[in-house]
């Protein structure tokens, strides 16, 4: 067996690996084109070992962690290592290949040293368009996977000699905004190239064997951290559920159900009893269910747990084929990535309410609150504004919830009014706290957001993709629910109508879209209400 790595070298190399992954994210953020990448930072970077076990992550987006821990493993099932050569960059976005939804495209570069495959660099970026029925590729009415856009099975777009122009053009021919997409592709390629160069330095400096033994030790360490964290929770079997408003096609709520079994230092998350796959685009993948389970464990027990492949070893996640969390390849998934994933986390939290309420927050704006506007600017340029909306945070045992904030699996920023007005045919008429939206309680839920978007072009499109419109953020331990999400259109003629949570509509000049994001749930019985 190999000798143990000393605790100093371990930390030195861990720092170096993290720096490499961080550098990848910087490269993408600074050179990408999509507003989503540059402004909101909807991207992640990772290094994995030769088997695809994650070693280090750059930008820590909780949602992407789960996905990236599986991407390379699944990729290797499709493309054997023997087919890879130094300088390759492979691209893919299939949800079933360690993925989540089509817009999140992964670029994977095999890293060789001394002529053998040692590691992979993965750059995940949310493309602002991946083709499909509507600009922005959020097809609320999609009933199958092919309506959602271009499905990229693993394809080698770059070799050591440069881009494979024909394949690249094939991809670009199938998405909107080809120049912008090409910029994103180049940015992802550049990120993996910087990782390759840095890994070469690292191997040369410390020796291949030391680096690889350190990686093994880091995995073991994360596993030990996760085991200790699980052991810290009361053993037992717990059940919880949370509900999606609807799937955008029908109007029935859809349940995500979990059975959690905590036993010494192991945890089982069994989602088999969740509802069947939906017809609309809110299905999800087992990888996302794993990401949400990992997130829940980390916030409840051990924020310091290192996010790498080792931390999954003590967790078993079961999903049922045919269910909303394992729908098969032909059903649409675009909204499941940020809506259903949050239901998974909420179901876990609600399961644990009877035993550890003091560690939980009441329900928050666990939805992306996505509005996607499309329209032509005065200069004739087509623009797409992809805007997510935070809401009130749920209250806790010792404090009120925060106002207008992203909770749990997402942390994407907003676009300032001054940027929107300069770059899109939209005027913001007001942006305020939505007073009174937070749920009452011994501690109050946070307030949501009120923002008004005024259309300045003749033909504009709007896609909505949000939850908590019908089923509001829940109160905890007797606290009241928060006010639900609501989006209205006030037409130029003054007529007002509420929009569904998953829809594509056309708008005209002078129409105003008013979003009121949900308030957070309260915690505990409000003072004066005790019987």
């Amino acid at each position: 067996m190999t000798a143990k790595i000393d605790p100093f070298t371990l930390e030195v190399i861990r720092n170096a690996l993290t720096a490499i992954a961080e550098e990848m994210s910087l490269v993408v953020m600074r050179s990408a084109r999509s507003p989503l990448l540059r402004e909101a930072g909807d991207l992640s970077s990772a290094l994995t070992d030769a088997e695809g076990n994650m070693i280090a992550q750059g930008r820590d987006i909780p949602m992407h962690l789960g996905v990236m821990c599986f991407t390379v493993k699944e990729f290797l099932k499709r493309v054997p290592a023997s087919r890879m050569t130094p300088g390759d960059v492979w691209f893919l976005n299939l949800p079933e290949v360690g993925g989540n939804h089509l817009p999140d495209v992964k670029a994977i570069r095999p890293i060789f040293y001394d002529g053998t495959l040692q590691a992979f660099a993965v750059s995940l970026a949310h493309w602002a368009d991946i083709g499909g029925a509507v600009p922005g590729s959020y097809v609320a009415f999609a009933t199958d996977a092919w309506q959602e856009g271009l499905r990229i099975s693993p394809v080698r777009l770059f070799t050591a000699d440069g881009p494979d122009r024909e394949k690249l053009d094939f991809v670009l021919a199938n998405v909107r905004g080809a120049p912008e997409r090409e910029g994103d592709i180049l940015a992802q390629m550049a990120a993996t190239r910087s990782a390759d160069l840095r890994m070469q330095d690292l191997y040369a400096q410390h020796g291949l064997e030391t680096v690889n033994r350190t990686i093994t030790a880091l995995h073991d360490r994360a596993e030990a951290q996760m085991r200790a964290a699980i052991a810290d929770l009361p053993a037992g079997e717990y059940r919880g559920e949370d509900w999606l408003d609807d799937d955008g096609i029908g109007d029935q709520p859809i349940a995500v159900r979990v059975r959690i079994v905590l036993e010494k230092d192991k945890a089982l998350f069994d989602f088999s009893e969740s509802d069947d796959a939906a017809r609309g685009p809110i299905n999800s993948t087992p990888f996302i269910a794993s990401a949400a389970a990992f997130y829940a464990m980390k916030v409840l027990t051990g924020p310091e747990i290192q996010p790498n492949g080792g931390c999954y070893r003590p967790l078993s996640v079961i999903t049922r084929p045919g269910s909303i969390l394992e729908p098969g390849i032909d059903l649409p998934v675009v909204g499941g990535n940020h809506e259903t994933s949050q239901r998974v986390a909420d179901a876990i939290f609600r399961a644990l309410e009877p035993v550890i309420p003091e560690r939980l927050s009441a329900g928050g704006a666990t939805t992306s609150g996505l509005l996607l506007f499309g329209g032509k600017r005065a200069d004739g340029v087509w623009t797409t504004l992809y805007e997510t909306h935070g809401g009130g945070e749920g209250a806790r045992i010792d404090r009120d919830g925060a106002h207008v904030i992203r909770v749990h699996l997402s942390n994407v920023m907003n676009t300032p009014a001054e940027i929107i007005e300069a770059e899109y045919p939209i005027r913001i008429d007001a942006q305020r706290l939505r007073q009174g939206s937070g749920g009452a309680g011994a501690h109050k839920g946070g307030e949501g957001l009120h923002r008004e978007y005024h259309m300045l072009a003749d033909e504009m499109s709007l896609t909505t993709m949000f939850e908590r419109r019908i089923i509001p953020p829940y109160g905890l331990q007797g606290g009241a629910d928060g006010a639900p999400f609501r989006v209205d259109v006030i037409a130029a003629d003054g007529e007002r109508r509420e929009l569904p949570g998953k829809t594509n509509v056309r708008l005209g000049r002078g129409d105003t879209v008013v979003i009121e994001s949900s308030g957070g749930g309260g915690y505990g019985i409000p003072a004066g209400d005790e019987r």
Binding site: D6, P7, F8, T9, L10, E11, V12, N15, A16, A19, E23, L26, V27, R30, S31, R33, S34, P35, R38, D60, P62, G183, L186, A187, A190, R193, A217, R221, A224, Q225, Y295, V299, P303, L360, S361, D379, V381, G390, R396, D398, R399, A402, H403, V404, I405, R406, V407, N411, V412, M413, N414, P416, E418, I419, E421, D429, A430, Q431, L433, L449
Partner: protein, 670 residues
Amino acid sequence: MKSAWQVGIDVGGTFTDVVALDPATREIRTAKVQTRAADPRAGLIAALSAVNLEWENVADLIHGTTLITNAIVEGHLAKVTLIATEGFGDSLAIGRQNRRHLYRLDLAPKATPQVPAERRIEVRERLDANGQVRVALEDSALTDAIEQAQATGAEAIAVSLLHAYANSTHEARIGAALKGTSIPVALSHLVNPEAREYERTATTVLSASVMPLADRYLEQLESASPEASRLHLFHSSGGMASPAALRNLPLGLALSGPAAGVAAACKVADELGIDHAISLDMGGTTTDVCLIAGGRAEISVDRSLGDHPLRQPMVAIESIGAGGGSIARLSLGAVEVGPDSAGALPGPACYDQGGTTPTVTDANLLLGYLEAGQKLGEKIRLNRDAAQSALAPLARDAGVSVTEAAYGILRVANATMVRALNRVTVERGVDGRDCDLLAFGGAGPMHAVELARAFGISRVIVPAASSVFSAVGCVGAEMQYAQQQTVRMTSADWNRQRLSEIQTRLIERLSAPLQEADYNNDSIAVDFVASVRYSGQSYATEITTPELEDPDALGRQFQETHERLYGFATDEVWELYALRCTVSVPREGSPASTLAASAQGTPQKTESCWFGGEQAVDTLRYDRAAVATDQKIAGPAIIEDAWSTIVVPPGASAKPDQFGHLHIDVGSAE
């Protein structure tokens, strides 16, 4: 005795550093005295007398201070009332909607807005993104808003109207109407004329909230000095400014001291003809690094301090939580160092002030780099036994000797610093291995060589007077004012006239304090940096000495820079997004004067030091003042003065030049 001394005084939390230069004789005096936070006036006089000077001897006094930084970090801020555009009063509460801690549900996800709801006042008016007036500001609305603001009992007022960076007239009218009151006022188009309402508003509010403090402090200083015009302050973007200018824009002082150190490093890099250098200033709790290219410090315009976004041109210092007081701990098979620190009190275990946790300084003492029994200031005497007891448990748990543990702690501390070096270089498209490392401050020169080796740097420079280096930067400072302004002009829609107007306005605004101080226009140098991006990109690429007269040439500059930074460039439409303007009055006379050649120094003593090999090695210890110019000292050696220690490990060699800067060839550990 009347003479014309130039004096730099950097007031830090614990110590005040002084450097005095007589330009006529090139005589330099340096000193370090205890900071007297309660009475800054007495502190300055004490600092002067430490170098045997009185006010009458001083021609220019340039002063760096942590006053504003500390007030912001500790939250000692004035009560501000905000006047904002109708419909947009809650910008501060909304922020950017992202949370600070991804995995900490127990902690508040964002800071409480600096201005509570009852002091946020909305006024009816509206501009669009081009600065066109959509809703005029009526006199009645203006009067109402001012009355409401005054009724809040504000100690300062911030005005931040939507798109004011594109048209300042509405803000200026409100500012003029408030002139009659005695309340300090900050207008967003003067503080930070850049787009993004949250960041501009937050910066403006923060500026307003330190105005009363800055006002009081500057008044005290001015009353202390016989003639106010001789007093200058060192500001965050790397030059000095008049007290009057800083009264209006006190955020310029937010990085005063650290920026002065970097400015001094720039001078040294320039003097020695070093193309790329990284400054390394290691203190008790943090280490500051900054990239210096072509003798100029990189400038950042978007950073934060504590919970506050702070959008001002500032020397682009990257700060990491690893310093002499950083605590080492073993956690599940890995030894981590920092970011928590033993601070000044109790400080490292070896300070013998009650600290028991092992720190980086304790490790340096146990390795023999610091000397047992050595005195730091009046109170502290380094205690080796205390360091030994603090490290012993960690060493035992790690299964190594105490000395090995001490060396390991340094390696880990250096590894975290390597990450910072990486960030300041890679982000700028610079290969860090081509840089020299300029190390100063208390602990920088102790770590520099090992750090350089870990990062792949081959030369370390420890400048003369390295332990009072920020004060050196103050002395050498030039008058300078800088600001960044959002422009938004695409190559397809180039408007030379609008650009000229923007340039003229910036120059006028920034050189106003220089003209008030009677500098004539010929002596004022103007410098622009252009931020250019492809339409649709967010991060703009900075172009130095931009060809603003010729958009085609500017486009080529942009493409070349983009290619260098990101490995690709295209022919599509680009946009001049912002312009940063710096006006300055270049100044003669740097403190780096030739030192009198001293006799060949001989080592004071020999001691055992440990450099990670099998055993300790005999190491010569030199007094820095006694080392002669061009005397080559081969490692292992320690070169020290009263306030800092330079470690020259085996394989490295050091040689002072005629300026007194020590050049260290890091060699290899063999």
